[in-house]
């Protein structure tokens, strides 16, 4: 199997696009632009999930991959008389990572305006105040205008989307890539790269690459996408927390290879599906790590228990600084995950899937 050189422009574009839950359109249009020539058909659910279908032999199982398009961000919650914007977090934020960052407000018509999250000067603040994190609901966006009317004149309305203004950057060691929203935009890249590798390749399985909506607000798009696809087996692609910094030393490091999630907060991966992935990794000289996440879920949480149940697992990529304006990932981990899934797409068939079902006690169908 030969693998194509990865295209960093895909990562750059999906990272720099703006899209919180319910407003993923900018992202899905980029995904569809890259995906359209690489698949047979694109369908949607009614919430905006974008599903790229690559047909197989006609006799194989339906395989679903999912990566969510929404990033954590905010909505315009209130516009003050003095011209400040109060923020409503959409997805999990920590006040620690917000002050002094630039944020982009996107209006209903797609206009973009940059503001900065206001912070206090430290002068004269008590130790107690200095050591207290400001809650995201108490922080505000300074648009650099003088009053409320000036905000309205820009076309900004309550409910508009607010996202970090962060440019994609290849770091000093080119293996490390900085950007916003790697949770979970990096895996939109993973899916598109797998599709690039499979261009002209015939598979037994029907492959459904789902770019889902509204994961960060409660794993909603994965539900509606699953109902649209009716998959036999699913692999959710998401990120996991890297723990290789001076603040976190548990050892999940960037660049250590692909990650198979055995357990997350709400899902037990099918053990036989994990075993198949492990075998593929070993046969292709990929480095395997296993993840046990007790806090946080992925699209698999919804997918595996929908319909009459779906054989499912999560494949993860470690990222530093999750749910902040700037995240770091490793190109090595990314490439290894792409290779794993490219081979998986070619191998998965009913025989493998029946084995996965047998492994949990289900007799093979006659």
């Amino acid at each position: 199997m030969t693998f194509k050189q990865i295209d960093l422009n895909i990562l750059r574009r999906v990272s720099e696009a703006d899209g919180i839950g319910g407003c993923e359109r900018e992202v899905s249009r980029i995904v569809a632009e890259y995906g359209a020539p690489l698949c047979d058909e694109i369908i949607h659910d009614n919430l905006g999930s974008t599903i790229m279908i690559k047909h197989g032999s006609g006799h194989g199982p339906k395989v679903m991959f999912s990566a969510h398009m929404d990033e954590v961000g905010f909505m315009v919650r209130e516009i003050t008389d003095a011209g400040y914007i109060k923020l409503l977090p959409v997805g999990g934020w920590w006040g620690h990572v917000m002050p002094a960052h630039e944020l982009t407000v996107t209006t209903m018509t797609g206009e973009k305006y940059i503001g900065i999250v206001g912070a206090r000067a430290p002068h004269g603040l008590s130790q107690k105040v200095k050591n207290t994190v400001i809650a995201p609901m108490d922080l505000f966006l300074d648009m650099g205008v003088k009053n409320r009317q000036a905000i309205l004149d820009l076309g900004i309305q309550i409910g508009d989307m607010v996202t970090p203004n962060t440019k994609f950057r290849v770091m000093n060691d080119p293996d490390l890539l900085c950007g916003k929203g790697w949770d979970d935009r990096v895996n939109l890249g993973t899916m598109l790269e797998v599709m690039r590798n499979l261009e002209g390749v015939h598979t037994d399985a029907d492959l459904y690459f789902a770019a889902t909506v509204q994961e960060e607000v409660g794993i909603r798009g994965a539900r509606t996408a699953t109902h649209t696809i009716l998959p036999d087996v699913a692999v959710a692609l998401d990120v996991t927390t890297a723990t290789d910094t001076p603040l976190d030393t548990a050892g999940m490091k960037l660049g250590g290879g692909l990650v198979l999630s055995m357990v997350d907060h709400l899902t037990l991966s099918n053990p036989s599906l994990i075993a198949m992935m492990t075998q593929i990794a070993q046969a292709n000289d990929l480095d395997v790590r296993y993840d046990f996440m007790t806090d946080g879920g992925t699209d698999a949480c919804s997918i595996h228990k929908m319909l009459d149940g779906v054989v499912a697992m999560t494949a993860s990529l470690p990222t530093r600084y999750m749910h902040s304006p700037r995240l770091l990932i490793s190109r090595t981990d990314y490439e290894q995950t792409i290779r794993l899934l490219t081979v998986f797409c070619q191998q998965i068939d009913w025989q493998h899937l029946d084995g996965m079902k047998q492994a949990i006690g289900i007799q093979a169908h006659q």
């Binding site: 009614n46 905006g48 909603r220």
Partner: protein, 353 residues
Amino acid sequence: MVDEQVLQALMALDGAPGDERRVSAYLREQLAPYADDFVYDNLGSIYAIKRAKTPNAPRVMVSGHMDEVGFVAKRFNDNGTIAGLALGEPLKASLLGSAVRFTLANGQTVMGTLLAHDTAGNAMTAKQDVLIDCGFASAKQAQQSGLQIGDRAVFAEALVHNAGSQRVIAKAFNGRYAPLMGIALLKAVAGEALPFDLYVGCTVQETVGLRGVQTATNAVQPDLGIVVDTDAAFDTQKDAQDRIGRLGDGVLLNFFDQTVLPNRLLLQTLKQVCEAQGLPYQYYYSLAGSDAAWINKLRTGTPTLFVNVAVRNMDTPQQVADLGDLQSAQQALIAFIQQLTPEQIAAFKAENR
């Protein structure tokens, strides 16, 4: 105008979670003259159907819950008091001394009041236990009244509408707003040929965890969901973070809810409808959940909109709503339905692509 007779009648009905049948029967009686058919789910949610003239028309579901916060009798104590369990989440601070009304199997009622569990005056424990005094001196006396374990009680305060006031105080705007709006809507569009099948009705068991809406959504299979519900007003509390849900400022434009993100094109359309009709509206965000959650995310997904009003003292025995707000919500709902087309419904589905 808001039909105050219907409002009075609805507030006189008792409908604790799992015991909504009196509200459901009234709703059916009121909607029957304007409905082509009715559909129920198997938990008791009810919808009147007004069919389009064309086959295979899209389905629009206008829905809110008809259950109110209540209590269920779980044990007769030797001293004649009744151990109960709160169903839903009544506001703790409102409970001590509240009047409650049990409805017995034979339809008769027994009045009572909530007692304190401790000398500090707490009327509800962390496990939602309450103690109800109906004036009985022994368990035997309580049983002889006809009360049975499992009987439901609800708040018993009578509706108040002072002369010269635009406001109404009543026990269950949260639970009767949806039937009120549903009846007004179906009456208003009765003579019109709509290009979609309109399902107007109410869910059960919302206050105990958004249950009826799950089965109702599967029964109706809507293409578009419009949820009618109440939200807490934060217009009088000194420490409220934002002054949202101001009584008298009109129908709410809910742009966020903890369990659902309203479709943005739908929200924009509602705003335009309000502006065209000269109706007051106000932005609102809710950090609570709602029925809209499941209409939105079940099956392949349904674009969902709220047409809500703010209520003071939500989930207490005496909730305050503004008739002007009810009026603006009712008119907005009717006007929205009257201008709605299948093309718009398709556009709402495609909004986020």
